[in-house]
Subunit: 95 residues, 2 copies
DNA sequence: CTATATTTGACAATATTTGACAAGTCAAAC
DNA sequence: GTTTGACTTGTCAAATATTGTCAAATATAG
């Protein structure tokens, strides 16, 4: 499970759009869209932008979730140290 | 610049160890150690473990810094959204 | 200057990621 | 029970990225 894909699916279904339609707008295979929504694959930033545009969603919201997914996979299995590491990075971005 | 390499250099120099010596213990080229300390390359987790062992440093401290580096590079250029994304991930690890 | 330590850039080898395709499940309609 | 449409899954080759080494360039110390 991932933040971005989950939210995308939610938004897409609310608008009764098909995977196929979103995929067409990105010019990728429907199978790939399916994987993206399910979190099997990561979308590129460009793809997130195109998706947000197509489904009229807030780009920053989607990019934030997409970024959270990236951060989470960077943390990987290091759950024990994650909190402290996140604090360190957070501090750096305080400015 | 990166957290892990910077701290490693500090610790290594305090003990007057040479890059070459640490490199030998990891069985890698000195050039690679240099890059790791300077943040040009990332160390693998296994390498961090071996380094901590060799320089008698606290493994968790080094791993935390190493993880912070990974998180930071996951964030990449998305500085604007970083803080919110980090919050999301942090919340997830609260348990 | 000489000797040793570190840094750098280029490179081959390896590993990972990417998107397409084919085949699969599932549910609703027929 | 078969067809249809939406979605899912596994596998593949191509594209990209990462890894560690080598040789050459730079520092730094004596």
């Amino acid at each position: 499970m991932n933040y971005f894909g989950q939210r995308l699916r939610e938004l897409r279904e609310k608008q009764e759009l098909l995977l196929r339609q979103v995929a067409a707008h990105l010019e990728v295979d429907t199978a790939l869209m399916s994987k993206i929504e399910r979190g099997d694959r990561n979308a590129s930033k460009e793809q997130v932008v195109k998706i947000a545009e197509f489904i009229h969603a807030d780009l920053d919201e989607l990019l934030t979730l997409w970024l959270a997914d990236r951060v989470e996979s960077a943390v990987g299995e290091e759950k024990k140290l994650a909190n402290e590491a996140l604090n360190i990075v957070k501090k750096k971005f305080k400015k």
